[in-house]
Amino acid sequence: MFKTFRPGGIHPSENKLTAGSKIRGLPIPGQVSIPMNQHIGASPKILVEKGDMVKVGQLIAQEEGFISANIHSSVSGKVLKVDAVVDMSGYKRKAITIKVEGDEWLEEIDTSTELVKEISLERHEIVRKINESGIVGMGGATFPSHVKLMLPRGKKAEYLIVNGAECEPYITCDHRLMLEDPESIIEGIKVVMKALGVKKTIIGIEDNKPDAIKILKKLLSKQKKISVGTLKSKYPQGAEKQLIYALTSRVVPSGGLPMDIGVVVLNVGTISSIANIFKTGLPVTERIVTVTGNGVNNPNNLLVRLGTSFEDCVNACDGLKDNVEKIISGGPMMGVAQSNLQATINEGTTAILVLDKKEAKVVHPENCIRCGSCIYACPIGLMPLSIAATADKGDFDLAEKLGAKDCIECGICTYICPSRRSLVQSIRLAKSILNKRRI
C-alpha cells in the first residue's frame, strides 16, 4: 500500500490534461509587471525608479522586516512605472513594470550550460546565498525559503522532505519538471541537505505519476540518503502536515511548524530553482506554469519569465474558448479566481486554470442534512459543518474552540458537501476575524 495521511482526504477527478505536454519556453514578453508582494510576509524596499535601466537578475527590491524576500528583475529593459496595480489576489499592490529591451544579463551570471559546480560553500554561506536570491516557495505558498533554512537555536533538522505530490487536479508543472529536469532536483537537494545538515531526504510523489517516480528512483539508485516515497493519489496529499505524516509518521503539533518536529519541506520547483541559483548565480527569473482547463484552446506547460501577464500565457496557448466561466491562479481546490487576465506570474503561480461553465458549476446552498461527509473528508479531523454554523451565527469564540484555527483551507468540505454549502468560506471568515483579534 502506498503511503498516505489520515484522517480524511478525497480524490477528485485528476484532469491532468497537460501531463504529456513538454515544457515549452515562452518568448520574452514586451512588458512585465513584477509584484512586490509575491511572497508571504513584509513588502521589500523598492530600489529602482521610473526610467531606470535594469538587467536580468538585478536586485530591484530588497527584503525588509522579519519575513521578507529580495526581488530581482526577470528581464532587461526600462522601468516604466512603480505603482499599485491589481494583482492576482484582487487587491491593489505595489508592482514594478518594466518595458523589455533585449535580454541583457548581469555580468556575474554564468550563462554557460555546464552542469553543477562542486558546492564548496559552508552551511551559512549557502543559506546566505539562498537568502540573497530571494527565492520563495514555488508550490504556491510563497514562503521565503531562507527562513525555513535558518534553524532556530537549539533545533535540529532530521528530514528534508521534497514535495512532488502535486495533489491539486489539473496542475502538472511539478510533474513535468521531475520528468524533464530530475538532475536539478537532486542537485538542489544536495545543496539544501548541506545547508540544513540533515542526513535523510524523501521525495514524496503521488502514484499517479509513475514515470516521474521511476526516473527519480533510477537516478537515486546509488544514493543512500535520498529516497523516493510513493504516495497514494489523494487530495490534499501535498499539504505540508499531511505530507510529513504520510512520509515520516510525524505529526506537526496544532499551531506548530514542521521545524518543531525536525522536518523541513520544500517543493520540487523550489529545490530545482535553488540548484539553478548555485549553478549559474542567477536568482529565480522564470518558472513553469501549467495553462490548463477546458476553457483554453491548447493546454500546455510553459516556462515563463516572472511578471509575464496571464494574458500573454493564455495567448501562447491559442487563447480562450467562448464558454469560459472562471480564470484561476493555481489549482481548482485552493487557487484564486481572477476577474480578468491582467495579473502576472509570480514565483508561486503554479497554474492558470481556465474552467468552462461545466467545470465551474454555479451552485446554490441548501439546508445541511448532517450527512457528515465534510467530517469524514476533513484532513485535520475537524467538524466543518459545526465550525461553519457557529461562524455564520457570529460566535467566533465557539468556532475557535471547535478548532477553526487548525483549518488549512484545503476546500474539501465545500467540495464534498451535497447540500452545496460554503463551509470553508465560513471557516475562512472565522479564521480571519480570530487572527485580527490576536493583533
Partner: protein, 327 residues
C-alpha cells in the same frame, strides 16, 4: 478595471453528488421491500403507501410555499419520509391514517423545527408513534393480517400456523418455539407485519445498496443488529434460532438500515454512531422482552434520537496535531 469572469472563493469545483441524489438513493433502496409488501398484502397496501408518500410530498410543498421556505421539494426527502411511514403501517388501516400520519410527520416533526436537517426526531417514526398513540386498535394487534402464501416458494403450513394472524414478534413474546422453517418465512417475507418490514431479504438488498452507494456506513446497522442478536441471546433463552428471529422480525432491519441511519437524527461522529447504535439495540431488546409492546424498534430509535446531540457532543473527532501539542 472591468471584471470579465466570475470570481468566488475557492474551491472552484464540487463533487458530483447532491442531496437530492442521496435522497433518491434512499427512496430506491426502500422500493424492494415496499414492492414485496404490496405483493404480500395486496392492493390495499399499495394504496396505503401511495397515500402516505403523496400526502407527505404535498404537505411539504404546501408548507414551503406558505412560509416561503427555501427548501426544494425535489429533495425527495418528503417522499422518503412518507414512504417510510407507509411501510411502518399495517395494510389494513383506512387511508386517512397514512395521510394524517404524513401530515403530522412533515408539519409538526419536520417543518416546525426548521425543515430538512433540523428535525430532532425521525419524522416517519414520530408520525407512526403519533398514530399508535391516537388509534392503537387500528395499528396494533388484530390490524395485522396474514401475508398470502408465495406461490412459487413452498412454505410448510406449520410455518404459517406459527405466525398467522399474529406478527412474528407477538409469537416471540408469547414464547412460541421458533422453527427453522419460520425463519425462512421471515427471511422471504411470508409473514404478518407492517407493509414494509416483512421481507428481510428485500430490506437487506436495500440496506446493502445504501452502503454500496456510500449513503450510509456499516456502523449503525451492524452494531444495532449485533446488539439485538447478542442481547436476545443472553436474555431470551440462549437460542440462536430465537435470536435470529428477533433480528429478522418486527422491523429491526427496516429500522437499522433506514431509520436509525437517518442523518439528521443520529450522531454525525463515527464514535457517536457506535454508541447510538448500541443504545438503539439495547433499548429494542429491553422493550421487546420486558416492555408492554411486542415491538421495540420505533421507540428505541426515537429515544436515541433525543440523546443523539448529547452523544455527538462527547464524541468529537480528535483534531490532527492536537495530542502532540499536549504531550
Amino acid at each position: 478595471m472591468e471584471g470579465k469572469f466570475r470570481v468566488s472563493s475557492s474551491p472552484h469545483i464540487i463533487a458530483p453528488r447532491s442531496t437530492s441524489q442521496i435522497m433518491r438513493d434512499v427512496f430506491i433502496a426502500l422500493l424492494p421491500s415496499a414492492i414485496i409488501g404490496v405483493f404480500m398484502f395486496g392492493t390495499q397496501a399499495f394504496y396505503v403507501l401511495l397515500a402516505a408518500t403523496f400526502s407527505a410530498i404535498f404537505t411539504e410543498y404546501a408548507i414551503v410555499k406558505m412560509f416561503k421556505r427555501s427548501g426544494k421539494v425535489s429533495d425527495v426527502s418528503a417522499a422518503v419520509t412518507g414512504l417510510l411511514l407507509g411501510m411502518n403501517l399495517p395494510s389494513t388501516v383506512p387511508l386517512w391514517i397514512p395521510i394524517l400520519g404524513s401530515m403530522f410527520a412533515i408539519i409538526i416533526v419536520k417543518q416546525a423545527f426548521g425543515g430538512l436537517g433540523h428535525n430532532f426526531m425521525n419524522p416517519a417514526l414520530a408520525g407512526r408513534a403519533f398514530l399508535v398513540a391516537c388509534w392503537p386498535a387500528r395499528l396494533l394487534g388484530s390490524a395485522f393480517v396474514e401475508a398470502r402464501e408465495l406461490g412459487s416458494i413452498a412454505v410448510s403450513s406449520t410455518t404459517i400456523d406459527a405466525t398467522s394472524y399474529a406478527t412474528p414478534l407477538v409469537s416471540l413474546k408469547a414464547g412460541t418455539i421458533i422453527l427453522p422453517d419460520s425463519l425462512l418465512s421471515l427471511f422471504i417475507g411470508n409473514v404478518g407485519g407492517c407493509i414494509g418490514d416483512v421481507s428481510s431479504v428485500a430490506l437487506l438488498i436495500g440496506g446493502l445498496y445504501l452502503i454500496f452507494k456510500k449513503v450510509i456506513t456499516w456502523r449503525i446497522p451492524t452494531i444495532y443488529i449485533l446488539t439485538v442478536f447478542v442481547g436476545t441471546f443472553f436474555l431470551d433463552g440462549f437460542s440462536i434460532l430465537t435470536s435470529t428471529a428477533h433480528v429478522l422480525a418486527g422491523g429491526l432491519l427496516l429500522g437499522a438500515f433506514f431509520m436509525a441511519t437517518d442523518y439528521t437524527t443520529s450522531p454525525i461522529t463515527k464514535k457517536g454512531q457506535l454508541i447510538f447504535a448500541f443504545g438503539c439495540g439495547l433499548l429494542t431488546v429491553i422493550i421487546r422482552l420486558y416492555g408492554g409492546y411486542p415491538e421495540g424498534v420505533s421507540y428505541a430509535i426515537l429515544l436515541m434520537n433525543i440523546v443523539a446531540p448529547l452523544v455527538e457532543r462527547y464524541t468529537r473527532p480528535k483534531i490532527f496535531g492536537e495530542v502532540a501539542l499536549n504531550a
